[in-house]
Amino acid sequence: MADPASESRDKPILLLGIGRGGAHIVSVARRSCAFPGLLAAAADTDRTTLDEAQVDERLQLGEAWTHGEGCGGDLDLAERAANASAEALRELLQGARMVFVVAGLGGGIGSTATRLVARLAREGSVQAVFLVTTPFSFEGATRARVAEQSEQRLRLEAQTVMVVPNSLLFARLPPDTAMPRALDISGELLATALAGLAHIGFAKGLITVEWAGVKRLVRHPTCTCSLALGRGQGPEAADEAAREFLASPFLGDARHLETVHAAMLTLLGGDDLTIGAVQSCLGQVQAQFPRNAQILVGAYTDPRMQGQIELTGMLVHTTLDGAGRQPGLPGTFPPEERQGTRAGRPSAAADGQPRQAALPFPDQQLGVFAGSPHPTFHDGENLDVPTFQRRNVPVDPGESL
């Protein structure tokens, strides 16, 4: 059944999964919620991943560099491979009205190609939303570091980045949950969240959310997102959806919910969606949030959802520095902080103790030119700093002999 809103626009909405993790999630998203006007695509260096992915378009990255094999976490190789296929990616992006990019950070291609896609999308003026996961804590410090770095770099290129820490899964799931099941849940949740986000693009809206609003929620450099999903059916659909939503495994523990700074809730129902159901469902969920959390609410209808209610939420947590301020630009304070902190009083961290703010460690080095009497400046840039550092290009330092 075609959605009239999507018919009016000719270009499809693109779901692009990058790397093995991204391709898996996009496959699940396509299986579970295939909208018309939705184009699912997967891009990876590994041919096996692409063969397994159930998507409409497959993009093999950097054939010449990897010969159809994975990058094995090699960031340099991944970057080369991604750059080699930049033209194909650009073409893919140009054919879309909007693109949702899903990737797991911490590996090779997911960590590097996302940044390239962000740049290409920006150059082509294609709206791009990034949904990226960070590794499980047991995957080791190296992957976590890589993920953190690539997240920072991605934020330089992209405006809408939603970071979902995989480790949040374990906060709610019972320890005896089977590992494949846990990963399935993770994939399914991300896929549904993705579909929920995609609704903003083309579902028929009762209460609409603007992309600018979503962008504003996630623009802070330290924010992470957690996802929740609730479904209900029948006369008690609204209550059921709210209950399931609050028990969602990706939500983190209960304390996590109390520290939400902002949230985007998307409610999807059939044509028979009543105002009472909307009120009841959203009311129950919002009651759990801090009073001053910033909340965006969207309600959409889809004829296929007759008698059902699906509530998707993206909850934004912002890490504050020790002084209770968000590092970064003024004007990015979350509402809670802005309202809760009185001027002239030293603010305190979560545990009530005042803390010395951490000083930022400079990540640019001058080496032998430190203290040089004639620093080389050009267009306000200190050219004595290595070019690769100024341009944020990672260089593999090799290993000690």
Binding site: D76, P373, H374, P386, F388, D396, P397
Partner: protein, 422 residues
């Protein structure tokens, strides 16, 4: 300036950021420059082309001079020409105008001299001095810009002159070092980039228009050689030391080892442009007994490519801003120590968008390794430039620099020669 009898052997000295080079040579009757002696010594305490420790540099200079004297079998007695570079040197364009009042409003040589003098009369701050002046172009009334305005008809003549100026202090430091060591002053001092042009280009190159880029250890100079000589000149205080420093930071190696790495890139099979499968090839870089790193070639290449690419980008942007790019028909020539990095010509071609090749000195005889060495261009060019300076001084004749350049480059033929009445 005191008249000195013409010497046959000239000496060029370049106090570079990494090496002090001394070249002795004499001109054969057919214009070929025969190199009689070459000496070099590593320079210490020179950063970005400027001397930080005079005594230390003087000692090294003494070594280089005695090496050259030993090689040539004779002492340096003749005129010495020095090359200077560094952040204190800059170029500017000034314009001078005059009314054309002669018979029939035809531009005469006097008009040209008056207009050029007006342009050269630009007052500099007291701590600066002119190193070179080049007549870039002339314009009669609102007509097209031409390299020679003689014989044209009009009311006004405008001359555009390129001035290369430097700070008095650093230039005087170089001269006094030579005086301390040799007992007499250096005859004159030239901007390195200008000296390079004299070594690399002949008259046909001036017609086409060429870009010369000298990538030294501390400074990269660039000169547009077109029309009457140097059309534009500039420098960036970035050089191979920056590449070494970048590598030291990226690969966590000592700086001295990285300087050697930049020199040895060819032996290691690395180039200035990133190549496929660079990750698979690794190089073992030893830093001493039991120490070192195994580094993928790609890391090295990436750092070098980013740095050199950026230098070329800055040069291209500056030339573009000055509308110089359309004047460069012949492409770029690269010299200096950086030109020894393999693949740098390909990188320059890509970034600058013009043909690029490694420069070699023209009309030269001497040791085989000097004949093709891009990093000896500056001291060799100093000798050619020095001959031109001596010709001007020797004749005591106020002929323009342009005429001297044309003579130096053998351009004076036919109508041009007649028009200059030489």
């Amino acid at each position: 300036m005191a008249r000195k009898p013409k010497r046959h052997i000239l000496t060029g000295i370049e106090i570079g950021t990494s090496t002090i080079k001394v070249v002795m040579g004499e001109f054969l009757p057919d214009g070929v420059l025969a190199i009689t002696g070459v000496g070099q010594a590593p320079s210490l305490h020179v950063q970005k082309g400027e001397v930080l420790d005079v005594e230390g540099v003087r000692d090294q200079l003494a070594r280089a001079v005695s090496a050259a004297e030993n090689a040539s079998g004779q002492d340096i007695k003749g005129p010495i020409f020095l090359a200077a570079t560094g952040a204190h040197i800059r170029s500017m364009v000034t314009v001078g105008r005059t009314m054309v009042q002669g018979q029939g409003h035809r531009v005469t040589e006097e008009d040209v001299v008056t207009a050029v003098q007006a342009a050269r009369g630009y007052t500099l701050p007291p701590d600066q001095r002119k190193m070179h002046t080049w007549e870039r172009s002339f314009q009669v009334d609102a007509g097209a810009q031409v390299t020679n305005a003689l014989g044209r008809t009009g009311d006004w003549l405008a001359a555009e002159v390129l001035l290369v100026v430097g700070e008095h202090g650093p230039l005087e430091t170089l001269c006094s070092m030579v005086q301390d060591l040799m007992g007499f002053r250096a005859r004159d001092i030239a901007f390195s980039g200008v000296a390079d042009c004299f070594a690399a280009f002949g008259p046909e190159d001036a017609e086409q228009g060429h870009l010369l880029i000298d990538i030294g250890a501390g400074v990269t100079e660039f000169v547009v050689f077109q029309g009457n000589g140097c059309y534009d000149a500039g420098l960036i205080t970035i050089g191979c030391d920056h590449i070494a420093n970048d590598l030291a930071i990226a690969l966590r190696l000592p700086l001295a080892r990285c300087k050697a790495l930049v020199r040895d890139m060819r032996e290691m099979g690395c180039s200035a442009g990133v190549s496929p499968h660079g990750e698979d090839r690794t190089v073992d870089i030893r830093t001493g007994p039991g120490g070192g790193r195994r580094v993928p070639c790609s890391s090295l290449e990436k750092v070098v490519e980013l740095r050199l690419g950026e230098v070329f980008e800055i040069i291209r942007d500056q030339l573009d801003r000055h509308h110089d790019l359309e004047r460069i028909g012949g492409g770029a020539r690269l010299c200096g120590g950086g030109a020894l990095i393999p693949g740098i010509d390909a990188l320059a071609r890509t970034v600058l968008g013009m043909p690029a090749q490694i420069a070699t000195p023209r009309l030269l005889s001497g040791q085989q390794d000097i004949l093709t060495a891009p990093h000896y261009m500056t001291p060799i060019g100093l000798l050619r430039w020095g001959r031109m300076v001596m010709d001007i001084d020797g004749e005591g004749n106020p002929v323009s620099v342009r005429q001297q350049v044309l003579r130096e480059m053998g351009l004076l033929t036919g109508i041009l020669k007649d028009s200059l009445r030489l």
